[in-house]
Symmetry: C2
Subunit: 347 residues, 2 copies
């Protein structure tokens, strides 16, 4: 078994792409998947990074995800469209949705594109960041299967539905990018605590029967951010994504239909519809500087805006390469061997 | 001094309207203000209800708010517009913005109308509910002066910027209406604890110098919802409202310009752009029923969706009248006497 390795971002993207091509996806779709995973791995969002490659291959091979999906776009209004993903994963369907929403927003001032019937949205912040890279404001929300508790109820009741907002900034500065689950801590974080053998923060999870626990082994259900606020937000996101596109998840799920399905809504706002774009960007940068310059709490060296730390990590990993753990690398190498894919040279 | 009274909602609305007319506002603007306050008082949102009448009269008389504002609408794109409130309060400017956004969304599928230079947005949930009353989805965010802490910083750093989402439901059912601050508890709630002499929930506020406190007398700065998530959300809302309409608040505020100013953004989504509206409404209702039917935690009699409890209170107060405390009623009666306004008969 090879040890932990460091792989240049480009080589890792090509490797992931080749694995998906060998699984039966088109080069374009394979590239869309590989790019989104490398974006997340660069930023240290390991739960949505390259570790997903074997999981996605499994989803394609088991028929949960469709490797040759016929994505259809219903272009209903000047500012609105519905994308049916035909069970393609999010990085394929939502990248297309983001491109369409940017195009529409540029003429209308704002656009909304909702995606129904995807199997896994991926990192919702990725799409908000793609939109911000075009100089527009991107807002993304996703809905999925119940995993989180709902205030007053016992057990997994609603999804941990995330919200992402990306705002473009001046040249050489990172996109201001918020990407947050509606749970207090994400499912992926609970797995991190379990791996490290550390207790969970107070009030962040319950057992399956609703008893609060800080034991990551016993924790089955994360609790909502701020109680009723977080569970209310998650419910609203189900209404504004799944129910909006006539693909409800909560109602069939709790009636016993536990099909793997996710939906997402992207809203794009064109700052050019509101005034001078140069002035907008200058005010974004000035606001970020204002936050940086706030009086610091004791023991705090630096105050950050959302997205700043992951962007610094991405800059670092772009130079140094992406670390891939021993277990995951072995899995990728075995997968490549089975599919006849060449493994890149690693450090 | 008269005791606490109960006033029929209609009489209270007329009374508030007459006070604003006597202060120099037009009948239309006075009606817009009175309606928004009675809406909040009916629902038990006292901090944005009829108690605001004397405060608004003060704002008009001191010149903070403009009683004869010339509100201008810059209709920039098919789906976007900017409303300059000319320092009219929110209920005047945002009611107009909501009407315009609904009209635009009906043809474009989605619309965004941002309001700059208002002095107090009022209850942001009110505008989301006006939009939902027209059968559309309303999203409202507001930005104002720093009151809340920011993760890593000391003191009042960012606003408690609220988010409201209103989704229409079937006949006879309340709008699903989330209306939440980005702070753990609202400023108004801290005042409630102070009045009742009760300690604040752990971690909900600090003193001016950043020391955590549960003493409502010492509490000066509410803490953000979920730490970095809440303060990050508040910052994003400043960027997507104030900075979007070239009326930044945080940067000039922290540079010493403490002018009273707020901004807001309304986004309206037309469900008709996404499929059959009847099916949409049926799925909203079914999702609400799904939440109601979740297994209940010990000691819980009923599980609620956002907006349901305040809607029940509003139904009750529409029948029974709105309770007005002794101190506030005296203030209103004195104000009426000074302005030559007839006081309604009360129970």
């Amino acid at each position: 078994m090879p040890g932990p390795v460091t792989v240049p971002a480009e080589a890792l993207e090509d490797f992931a792409r080749d694995i998906f091509v060998a699984t039966g996806l088109s080069v374009d779709d394979s590239t869309a998947l590989a790019r989104s995973f490398v974006w997340a791995s660069l930023r240290g969002i390991d739960s949505h990074g390259i570790a997903r490659v074997p999981r996605y291959v499994e989803m394609f091979e088991s028929g949960v995800a469709n490797p040759t999906a016929s994505i259809t776009v219903d272009d209903t209004r000047p500012g609105a469209a519905v994308v049916d993903a035909d069970f393609a994963p999010g990085p394929i369907a939502l990248t297309r949705a983001a491109t369409l929403a940017v195009e529409k927003a540029k003429s209308q001032g704002v656009a909304i594109v909702s995606v129904r019937n995807t199997v896994h949205t991926g990192a919702i912040g990725y799409y908000a960041s793609l939109i911000a890279d075009q100089g527009l404001i991107g807002i993304g929300i996703a809905a999925g299967s119940p995993m989180m508790s709902y205030t007053g109820a016992v057990g997994a009741s609603v999804a941990t539905s995330p919200l992402a907002i990306g705002v473009p900034s001046g040249a050489g500065r990172p996109t201001v990018l918020l990407d947050m689950a509606t749970s207090l801590i994400a499912m992926g974080k609970i797995a991190d605590y379990k791996r490290k053998g550390l207790p969970l923060p107070d009030g962040s999870a319950t057992t399956a029967d609703g008893t609060p626990t800080t034991d990551p082994e016993a924790a089955k259900v994360p609790t909502p951010l701020g109680g009723a606020k977080g569970s209310g937000l998650s419910l609203m996101f189900e209404l504004v994504t799944s129910v909006l596109v006539t693909a409800p998840i909560l109602t069939p799920y709790h009636a016993g239909t536990k099909k793997h399905r996710q939906n997402a809504t992207l809203i794009v706002i064109d700052p050019a519809a509101f005034g001078d774009v140069g002035e907008f960007i200058a005010n974004v940068d000035a606001t970020v500087e204002t936050i940086h310059a706030l009086p610091k709490a004791e023991g705090v060296d630096e105050i950050f805006v959302p997205g700043e730390r992951s962007s610094a990590k991405a800059a670092n990993r772009s130079e140094a390469g992406i670390p891939v753990g021993e277990k995951l690398w072995t899995e990728l190498v075995d997968l490549a061997a089975a599919l006849g894919v060449v493994v890149p040279e690693v450090g």
